[in-house]
Symmetry: C2
Subunit: 341 residues, 2 copies
């Protein structure tokens, strides 16, 4: 099964509302950039590569919706759109990478085109980013697949799957490719508090794709590694610094420490758009802190005193020294080799 987490259709962006999964599987149509920004902030559309694709499509949507009659007018509208999109979430670099690429396209194409043609060029670039993302994800799977052995028990965290990308996924793409090769292995998925992307999204898509998946709470990872014999850990990333430090969903750093303690490899799978050459080390990656209500309620159920103090970072940074290798669309890079790329 290939999911289409996002697509361009009739001058609008259509995407799966990921906050409704797994209870409901439904698409939302988004005709305005403000609606898209709100959807990104609320994690209706999430996952670093998918946020990048959504931002590119959002930029194109703003171009289509712009009433500007001149190139200068369109540029002004797009500047405002890019600024709104950039403010939605701070950690995933794919968002900034996509906006940067769209702005470069605008700048290059604007000299030779009128407003109408420019709009077309911009949409074409956004759709190109979408296609590229899908191709990169497929290649991540092909490259990472050789790391999976028969009998492996692999732990993953959050959702680095089809639902985090334009299709296939990053960490989960490795599983899909390994299954296609006929390998027998088991996956354990951390539920990933507070927003449960592991239990809601990863379990859903792994089961839909016939992968042998078992759900655990995040705090069961250590016992599962030791008592159930986890053989490796594969996760995604929201931003990888030049030195190989990787920001990913909160809880990833803990898994890397556990992998080291138990002597098993720890892999990060991500398209090269996640690697930020402008970020020197993990210390330079901004970490989004989200609101305290995410820890005080689950749905309508109150799970903590209402006036609790809460610390709710959405990501953490895993230092390169705890990462075995980084899997991208161009290959599997031992962390020492990665630093030399």
């Amino acid at each position: 099964m290939l999911l289409e987490p996002i697509r361009w259709e009739k001058n609008s962006i259509v995407f799966i509302d990921q906050t409704e999964l797994p209870a409901k599987f439904r698409y939302i149509r988004c005709r305005e950039i403000d609606t898209l920004c709100s959807a990104i902030r609320k994690l209706k559309v999430r996952g670093a590569p998918l946020i990048g694709v959504a931002a590119a499509l959002g930029y194109a949507l703003a171009a289509i919706n712009s009433k500007a009659l001149t190139v200068a007018g369109l540029k002004k509208d797009l500047k405002s759109a890019a600024s709104k999109l950039a403010k939605t979430r701070p950690t995933a670099v794919n968002l900034f990478w996509a906006l940067d690429r769209m702005e470069k396209k605008l700048s290059h194409a604007s000299s030779n085109n009128n407003v109408k043609e420019l709009r077309k060029e911009i949409l074409k670039e956004a759709l190109c980013i979408l296609d590229e993302d899908r191709r990169m994800c497929r290649m991540i799977g092909k490259n990472g697949e050789r790391l999976i052995k028969n009998g492996d028990k692999v732990l993953t965290h959050c959702n680095a799957g089809m639902l985090a990308t334009a299709g296939y996924g990053t960490a989960l793409s490795v599983f899909y490719a390994a299954k296609k090769s006929g390998k027998k292995f088991k996956v354990y998925a951390d539920e990933t508090r507070p927003l449960m992307q592991g239990s809601r999204l990863t379990m859903w898509e792994l089961m839909k794709n016939g992968i042998d998946a078992t759900l655990i709470c995040d705090n069961m990872a250590a016992a599962t590694i030791r008592d159930r014999g986890i053989t490796k850990i594969i996760v995604g990333a929201d931003r990888i610094a030049r030195n190989g430090d990787a920001a990913n969903k909160i809880g990833t750093y803990a898994l890397a420490v556990l992998a080291r303690y138990h002597g098993i490899p720890f892999y990060v799978a991500a398209p090269s758009t996640t690697i930020d050459k402008n970020t020197r080390t993990g210390d330079d990656i901004p970490i989004e802190e989200r609101n305290k209500e995410e820890l005080i309620y689950v749905g309508s159920k109150q799970t903590a005193p209402k006036n609790s103090k809460v610390y709710n970072p959405a990501f953490d940074v895993t230092p390169a020294e705890l990462i075995t290798a980084i899997i991208t669309e161009t290959g599997v890079y031992d962390i020492k080799r990665f630093r030399r790329i």
Copy 2:
């Protein structure tokens, strides 16, 4: 504030329904041993020391309710009651310790007493266990208090508090004693999935007692240790083996590994009734696995596909080598010294 999580009142057991906290604070009155067994299984009354006290009171309740006219008849009824209580939860040794002590009392007292007097003796013993638990907890706090320094940031897991005992708590008793001594420190509490004893119970009682407490998700512990500078970890225990291996709420083992990696001390606080000389090592401790629904729903909200495979161990074992010291009512024992006790 001293809570009374359980008490004996008018020939019945009265306890706080801990599944309702923090939204509702209410007591349940329990007149039948079957209701008590169900309450223990459903974690309405939970926490290793408190389960021990509840079992002792349950044994007394069975004695009071017994219609036996002879000592032999009473013994038969109590054997059946003990068997029911023993089957409720397998990991906390305090349960078996309390039943064993009640049975010894019955055996010693039965030769010199008639049925009526025997019932009184049994109730007296149960109330004695309750009082002792409270005294032991208070002493754990006094002994552990010297480990807390001004400026400490201490992480704890699950609920090893007043609500887990007849009063004061174990790990949290250390905080209450340190606060009483005027020390300034902060506590971080893991929410403790799947049943949220950390967010529901620990946050509730720490806040009620004026302790500076901050709630985190379990998967934030590693980042919090590193990025917020946690200085030590203190947890409770459900059973401590002769070699110092300690079973405690799932997730504890992960914290011990994280403490070792970050070079901070890891303490286990428990009354000596939690130490089981009959259990040689952690490998001999039975680990309760609970039902999969605990991970598929939170309240009425579905958080995973309904047919998900789930691994749901309620406890894990932390090897003695990762424990810095064990705090009991008789002192603070460096783990090497503990093994010689």
